[in-house]
């Protein structure tokens, strides 16, 4: 039973999903107390907000302290259009959702580079701005007096929906929202977001444009918040500024964390439990806030993974998880058609200088890397090798001088733009994507080669699913090539150090690079693995990929390099074949120490 959309969802998942849907939708029929139905409606739309918030919190690691503001935009837009312009729900509601989404896109701009408390301030400030707007801009919102007479949605025959029907609408949309979120987060989109959360820099080096993906996460999250707000406005028929306050943002955030951020069903658990508490403790009104504050504290301190997250940890320990299906490696994944390049130089550093504060890390360095070679880069710690790689890959702009790629001056290129040109790298201090599996790391490496974008993955079209399977087989082949295929489904974090380095190479190879820069690939790797590493580097060269290798391990670097450049104090002091370099007196003095005699003097 494969559909053209939702192609990823198997019959077993459908049955489970439909069963849950049937139970949820039947609830108001079983207990048709009006108050109960009202509570059910609220739970359903608050759940939608939590679901969206979790995309930010759980999947991109950003906290939002201003979701009440987005919720307000949805609610006010739809309410105003319905009451003042007389628009029907079916038009005013999408307008509210769209405006919330647009606000989210704007909000992403200051969030892009801000970190820690600065990032918290962005959403906080936005939330307060909306709070002030709803309270003070009385011409628009009527402040605390509010807007009343917001109509309930109508049916086709023009009749207003009954509370039960309205619940069905909200719950139906909520179920669909959960389905779409499952699609997204189980696909390339979730993988890329998690990768960004794990390491923005590493994600950039395989071509991920951080800005676009952050905007995407903010927009989805805001659309969900707006949707919740719309449903809220049309449920009560009345909204005023008392609702859209900081405390509401806190409660959204709490429900996500309580349920378990980054788990598919955490938002459901969290929003249901948290929002039932006031109902349950209605009699303890005076102590309500103590209980509420206490619950937040207890959740944060003792259940940092939330309810669902903690349960999942338990089940993982018991190995109840379904074993993933075997993936057959695709033949020919190591052929890089674009790799072979003509010309004199793959990449050139021309008079590159880079300063940090008062310290000159690179001083007028000229290096030409010829196509198809392994170019060794050696020098003492602190001699500027990593800085050179950082400048070549666009991570730092040069202070002066330029990087020339196949005859073209690069100007100010970002790492993801260099990746598009086929330049990628590994890192001296390993940069993996947090909890992502080994296989998924390589899948992120294929970022630029995957055709199916947001919409196909949202709907899980058959072609998106097929493409995903093809690339999984290719990824498997790369893992096999570096020799860690048997650990494909493990969390990359659990790999030993040496294998993590190999995984970084596999991830970089997925880009199908023309130029690969390896920053100390042998650091912390044991002697047998170093043998394998040497072979891997040679094989990559034979596949036509140009490589620059920083390494301290003399035996390795002398064994694999066609050319070696030596840096000392940010300057190139020697260059040539391995034999030439080893004989150079300047190199012996600088790199190999000042000599035993000197130290004994």
């Amino acid at each position: 039973m494969r559909l053209p959309v939702f192609a990823h969802t198997g019959p077993r998942d459908w049955i489970r999903f439909l069963a849950v849907a049937a139970v949820v939708l039947a609830l108001p029929l079983v207990l048709h107390d009006p108050f109960f139905i009202l509570v059910l409606q609220s739970l359903a739309y608050l759940f939608i907000v939590s679901l969206g918030l979790d995309i930010l919190v759980g999947w991109t690691g950003q906290i939002s302290l201003g979701h009440a503001g987005l919720y307000a935009i949805g609610a006010y837009t739809s309410a105003l259009l319905a009451t003042r312009a007389g628009w029907p729900f079916w038009i005013s509601a999408p307008a509210g959702v769209a405006l919330a989404g647009a606000a989210g896109a704007l909000l992403a701009i200051p969030s892009l580079r801000a970190k820690g408390p600065y990032l918290a301030m962005v959403t906080l400030a936005f939330g307060f701005m909306m709070e002030v707007t709803s309270n003070r801009w009385q011409g628009l919102t009527n402040g605390p007096m509010g807007i009343s007479g917001i109509p309930a949605p109508t049916l086709l025959d023009g009749e207003e929906m009954t509370p039960t029907q309205y619940f069905w609408l909200i719950a139906g949309v909520a179920l669909l929202c959960q389905l779409l979120v499952n699609n997204l987060l189980g696909s390339r989109v979730g993988r890329t977001l998690l990768a960004l959360r794990g390491s923005e820099i590493a994600a950039q080096t395989v071509g991920v444009n951080v800005y676009r993906w952050k905007v995407l996460a903010f927009v989805i999250s805001s659309v969900y918040a707006g949707l919740g707000g719309v449903f809220f406005a049309h449920q009560n028929g009345f909204i005023n500024s008392d609702t859209f306050v900081f405390a509401l943002s806190v409660s959204f955030l709490t429900s996500v964390l309580m349920g378990g951020s980054g788990t598919l069903y955490g938002p459901l658990a969290g929003s249901v439990i948290l929002n039932l508490i006031p109902t349950v403790f209605a009699r303890l009104h005076e102590y309500h806030l103590y209980i509420y504050g206490g619950i937040i504290l207890v959740t944060i301190i003792f259940l940092p993974d939330g309810i669902v997250g903690s349960l999942r940890k338990l089940t993982l320990m018991r190995r109840w998880r379904r074993m993933p299906a075997r993936i057959e490696p695709e033949a020919g994944a190591l052929a890089f058609p674009s790799a072979h390049a003509a010309g004199e130089a793959m990449i050139q550093a021309r008079n590159l200088t880079r300063d940090f504060g008062g310290i000159r890390a690179l001083n007028r360095v000229n290096i030409t890397v010829r196509p198809g070679v392994v170019h060794g880069l050696i020098g003492p710690n602190g001699s500027g090798k990593s800085t050179l790689v950082n400048v070549l890959t666009g991570l730092y702009p040069p202070s002066s001088g330029e990087v020339v790629m196949q005859g073209k001056a690069m100007g100010r290129m970002r790492p993801y733009q260099m990746a598009k040109l086929g330049v990628t790298r590994t890192f001296q201090s390993i940069r993996l994507f947090g909890e992502l599996s080994v296989l998924d790391h390589v899948m992120v490496g294929y970022h630029l080669h995957l055709r199916a974008g947001f919409w196909p993955h949202l709907l899980q079209t058959a072609s998106a699913v097929e493409e995903e399977q093809l690339f999984r087989r290719k990824a498997m082949a790369l893992l096999q090539f570096v020799g860690i295929a048997e650990r494909a489904h493990e969390s990359a974090r659990n790999l030993p150090y040496g294998q993590q380095r190999l995984l970084e190479i596999a991830r970089a190879l997925a880009l199908q690079p023309r130029l690969l820069l390896l920053d100390e690939p042998a650091a912390g790797v044991n002697p047998t693995e170093i043998q394998r590493l040497a072979k891997i580097i040679r094989d990559i060269r034979d596949a036509g990929v140009t490589q620059v290798v920083i390494e301290h391990h003399m035996e390795l670097i002398m064994g694999i390099s066609d050319v070696v450049s030596v840096l000392d104090f940010g300057e190139k002091i020697a260059e040539g074949t391995t034999v030439e370099v080893q004989r150079d007196p300047k190199v012996i003095e600088a790199y190999l120490g000042t000599g035993l005699e000197a130290a004994h003097a």
Binding site: P380, R493, V525, T594, A599
Partner: protein, 236 residues
């Protein structure tokens, strides 16, 4: 002076040290050499209480000090000079020295001032720069300040992490001379160094670390002649 038995360190799932045995004998320089990522720094950090020890023990003068918090280790007479110097760059040279003697400050201020004079006699350039912010010193001066700061607590054992890092050959020589004279003053030194030639030239005894394990050890002069060591670390 210091003995380490079966020391293991893990960061999450990554094993940095897989059971290390070593000794630092009194009034000697003991060197640890090895490539980046071999576990040299982790060894020092485990001794000084900055790295999470998952097994084995550390004995200082026969007393177990395994997993003692870093600030108490200092009070036991162990001082560490961290990799890359790690000065308090936004504080003055004088303040850096003062903080080096933090454990003594409560008891004996006069002594601290004498110690400060002693260190500024050892490195006269520091006296000249005493009011300057540490971050404005040159690389060599920073390393001197780092050593002086480490000596302000009057340690019996000095742990030095890559004192040659990023320094010009002549400055490395000067630092090497200082290290030797410290030994002659009676300080026990455990030296981690990437420049194997320098380390083996200075040390009395040395250990080679690979992949979190000790692969070779012995008198430094002998190790310097060892063909394995020559090939891997001396570039010959």
């Amino acid at each position: 002076m210091l003995e380490v038995r079966g020391l293991r360190v893990e960061y999450g799932h990554v094993q940095a040290l897989r059971g290390i045995d070593l000794q630092a004998r009194p009034r000697e320089i003991t060197a640890i050499i090895g490539s980046n990522g071999a576990g040299k720094t982790s060894t020092l950090m485990a001794i000084s209480g900055l790295a999470p020890v998952s097994g084995g023990e550390v004995l200082m003068e026969g007393r177990a000090i395994t997993r003692t918090p870093a600030h108490r280790v200092t009070a036991l007479g162990i001082s560490q000079i961290l990799e890359g110097r790690q000065l308090f760059a936004d504080q003055s040279v004088e303040d850096n020295l003062l903080l080096g003697a933090y454990t003594l400050l409560r008891q004996d201020r006069g002594r601290v001032h004498k110690l400060m004079e002693r260190e500024m006699d050892r490195f006269p350039i520091l006296r000249k720069r005493r009011r300057q912010l540490a971050g404005t010193l040159s690389g060599g001066e920073q390393q001197m300040l780092a050593i002086a700061r480490g000596l302000m607590s009057e340690p019996k054992l000095l742990l030095m992490d890559e004192p040659s890092m990023g320094l010009a050959p002549l400055v490395v020589l000067e630092i090497a001379r200082t290290i030797r004279s410290l030994r002659d003053e009676g300080v026990t030194i455990l030296l981690v160094e990437q420049m194997a030639t320098v380390a083996l030239g200075l040390a009395d005894h040395a250990y080679v670390l690979e992949n979190g394990r000790v692969t070779l050890s012995g008198p430094a002069r002998e190790l310097a002649q060892n063909p394995e060591v020559k090939r891997a670390y001396l570039g010959a």
